[in-house]
Each structure stands twice: as C-alpha cells, then as structure tokens.
C-alpha cells in the first residue's frame, strides 16, 4: 500500500467505522475525526445523528444560504436538520444518551487500554478542556467505538493501562485506526483486522498492549477510491 496522506488516513478510519453502523441506528459522533463518519455511510441507510446540545436528526453543516442562527451542532457550528428532526433540552438530551437510547457513540481518544478504559478529556498540567458530554456518552451508548490514529507522534495510544485520568472505565467496545480494527474483549485486545500492507509485527510494535489474534483475522476493508 502506498503512503497515505493525513487526510486519507482520517478518511480511511471514518469509512471503516461507517461499516459498523446499521440502518436505523441512533449515532453520536464526536468532533474531529469521528464527525467525518457522517459522510461515509451508505446512501440507502438511514442513520439518525444525535447532537448532544439538543437535536436528533442532524443533517450536515449549513452553508451561508441555509444558515439558521438557532440551529448549531455540539461544536457550535451552524447545521441543517433532517426531515423529521426533533429538538430538546439538555436534561432530555442526556436522558437519551445516559439511558442507553444511543446505539453507537464514536469518539476520539488520547489513550485506550486492555480493559476498555478510555482517556480523552484531560492531560494534567497541560490541557484541561473539560469532559463536556463525553463521559455520559461513553457510559450510556450501547456501543462505544474509538476512531483515532494509532499513535501520537509515534507513541502508542493503545496501552496495557491508561495513565491519564479516565473518561470512563471499561466502556470501549471497538477501536479503529489506520493500522487495524481491535475489539476490546474479556481477554484484552483482540485484533480482528489488519490494514492492507500492514503486518503483525508492525502493528504490535506500535501498540503497548499485547494484541491477541482473532480466529478469523481479516484484511481491513478500505474505500475503493483510496
């Protein structure tokens, strides 16, 4: 496989996450890379996007022509609503999230470990943005998918144990990176798919946690046009 640009890597991860979604799923996408998943879902599939600031049925970013100052996403950007969308207050929004009514939450991570622990909200002494809605999303969603680049400036992000303060304990189900797809199982990290052109040694070298091999290790599918 030829060298991919940063943008191609991000698209490849977002596209692979989109393959995990099912028709009718209620999905919350975090800002950054996870938000790209919205562009990659099959056109005949209906995915309901939940925006934790108070909308179910988010459509896309609004262009200047359709800009409604009363309608923004969780990043504060102007958006459009799909037909049949509904709005609500923050208590009701997090009742949807915490109550298990979101099928899939996709978010980024600073660290994920063998137990499914997730750290993505604070680097003590360096970065304290706050957790926003992330802690509720990770606890409440039926399935938690982490979509991220495999390493941070070469340092592994998939660890035996997170050393940053946690966002939530034991909630991550799946991790998708540009190197492969890893399930968090009762026995630790289970490698399900390897990206084209990546071998076991390479992915393990970039992963602190021990990768167990799934019985049916597959090649990770990527978009046709990549």
């Amino acid at each position: 496989m030829r060298e991919l640009s940063k943008q191609q890597v991000r698209r490849m991860i977002a596209w692979r996450v989109a393959q995990e979604l099912h028709d009718g799923d209620v999905v919350n996408l975090g800002i950054g890379l996870p938000s790209l998943v919205a562009n990659e879902t099959a056109k005949d599939m209906e995915i309901l996007l939940q925006s934790e600031n108070g909308l179910l049925g988010m459509d896309g970013l609004a262009d200047s022509e359709h800009h409604d100052p009363n309608l923004v996403n969780a990043g504060g950007q102007p958006i459009t609503a799909a037909i049949g969308a509904c709005s609500f207050n923050s208590a009701d929004s997090f009742a949807i999230i915490r109550g298990g009514h979101v099928d899939v939450s996709v978010l980024g991570a600073l660290q994920v470990d063998e137990l499914g622990n997730l750290a993505n909200w604070i680097i003590p002494g360096k970065m304290v943005p706050g957790m926003g809605g992330a802690m509720d999303l990770v606890v409440g969603a039926q399935r938690v998918i982490v979509a991220m680049e495999h390493t941070n400036k070469g340092r592994p992000k998939l660890l035996t144990r997170c050393d940053l303060p946690l966002t939530a304990a034991k909630q991550v189900n799946l991790v998708v990176t540009e190197l492969g797809v890893i399930e968090i199982s009762g026995q630790g990290m289970l490698l399900r798919e390897l990206a084209p052109g990546i071998d076991l040694e390479t992915i393990q070298a970039h992963t602190e946690a021990k990768l167990h091999l799934a019985d049916t290790l597959k090649t990770m599918p990527i978009p046709n046009d990549l």
Binding site: N53, L55, A91, S93, V128, G133, G140
Partner: protein, 220 residues
C-alpha cells in the same frame, strides 16, 4: 406586561458575590443582552453556572474575559483560552461537571429532589470524594442539587405571561435553569400576547419567569 423590565431595573437585581446561572451552549441560545448588562453594571466575584464558557467574545465566556467570575461550574472550558489561563493562575476556581450530570443537578434543584444518582464518571476523577450509592446491584454517584440566586436565560418567543418557547437547539440549559433560581430573567427575541402560543408548545411555564427583558435596539 407587568413582568417587563428595562436595563436600569435589571441592574437592580445584580450584586457582587451572586450565584448566577446563564443559559446557552457555545453561546447558542445565550442571553447576550443580559450579559451586556452584567458587564456594564460592573458586577463581580460571581459564581457562574454555565455548561461551557463560549469564547472570550461570545456567551458567558465574556464574563470570564472581563474577570467577573470567581468560581465556575461547567462541563467544557476548552473553547475559551481565558478560562484555562485564569484557572491556571489561581484567579478562577473551576469545578468540572459532566454535561448530563450538570443538567440533572440543576433539574433536581428545580424539582425539589435530593440530587441525582448518576453512573457517569464512575472510576474516574469525577467520582473522587463523592458518595457512591448502590441500587439494584449498580453503583451510582450521588451528585447534589445545583441552584442559584439568579438565572439568565434566552427565549425565542415569550408571551406576556412569561411563557417561553425555544427554537431549534436554543433550549439546551435554558428551561432547566429557569426552574432552579430564586429570580429568573428571560431575554426575549420576540414578545407576543398571551394566548398566541399553544399550551402544548410552551417549554417553560410563565410561573418560572420573574422578568422579561428585551435588548434595546441600538440600530435605529
């Protein structure tokens, strides 16, 4: 329209050391006109409850920028560099609260409940020092109610009885805060006669609203 107040009357409601809730999410649905008046009045040493601190130029974050806040309860402060800077320098005390927990803590205060039993934050620093209550075999963090002296909210359509409808995503924390403060002021985008809003379209019953404020039109 006995609930309407002007800027001068509004400033009478403000005092230093108050505990103030301000609605809005990344300044969407934030009462910018009411925030203007706090800045103009010079009110300081405020305890602020607001889900985020917007930016230094927008929403409740303007009060951080103007150095009026002594203590802050919020879920996210990353979009306003001033908040982090004042926190690091020790000028500003910050309590970070998960967004859903913040919403329920405010709601529980308004509803006369003893707080919230939330699973959010278990096994994280958020749980440290808090009571853990087990219900039906599951652990929950006991998070106490959160109330204020004053809630400043924004409504898209407000009728003359104080009933409020919020358009689009501008509800966010506004209807919750309306229930949990001693005094509640709504900044109205539009004021209509009572009866123009259908009973089932109203998000905030007028009994929660003490005063209605409309920003003066500076552009004639």
């Amino acid at each position: 329209m006995r609930k309407r107040i002007d800027a001068a009357q509004l400033r009478q409601l403000l005092s230093d050391n108050m505990r103030i809730m301000i609605g809005g999410f990344m300044a969407n649905g934030a009462p910018e006109g009411l925030i203007d008046q706090i800045i103009a009045a010079g009110t300081k040493n405020i305890t602020l409850i607001s889900t985020d601190t917007g930016t230094p130029e927008k929403g409740s974050g303007r009060l951080i920028h103007a150095k009026r806040i002594a203590k802050l309860y919020a879920s996210h402060i990353g979009t306003n560099p001033e908040t982090g800077a004042q926190m690091n320098s020790g000028e500003l005390e910050v309590e970070l609260v998960p967004q859903g927990t913040l919403a329920e803590r405010i709601r529980s205060a308004g509803a006369g409940l003893g707080g919230v039993l939330s699973p959010t934050g278990l096994g994280t620093p958020i749980a440290e020092g808090k009571r853990i209550i087990q219900v039906e075999g599951q652990d929950y963090i006991l998070e106490p109610p959160l109330r204020a002296d004053l809630a400043l909210i924004r409504g898209s359509v407000v009728d003359t009885k104080g009933n409020v409808l919020y358009k689009g995503t501008t509800q966010n924390f506004n209807p919750l805060m309306a229930t949990a403060a001693k005094t509640v002021v709504v900044e109205a985008e539009q004021i209509v006669e009572a009866g123009e809003l259908l009973p089932e379209h109203i998000h905030t019953p007028g009994i929660y609203v003490d005063y209605i404020y409309q920003r003066e039109q500076t552009d004639a």
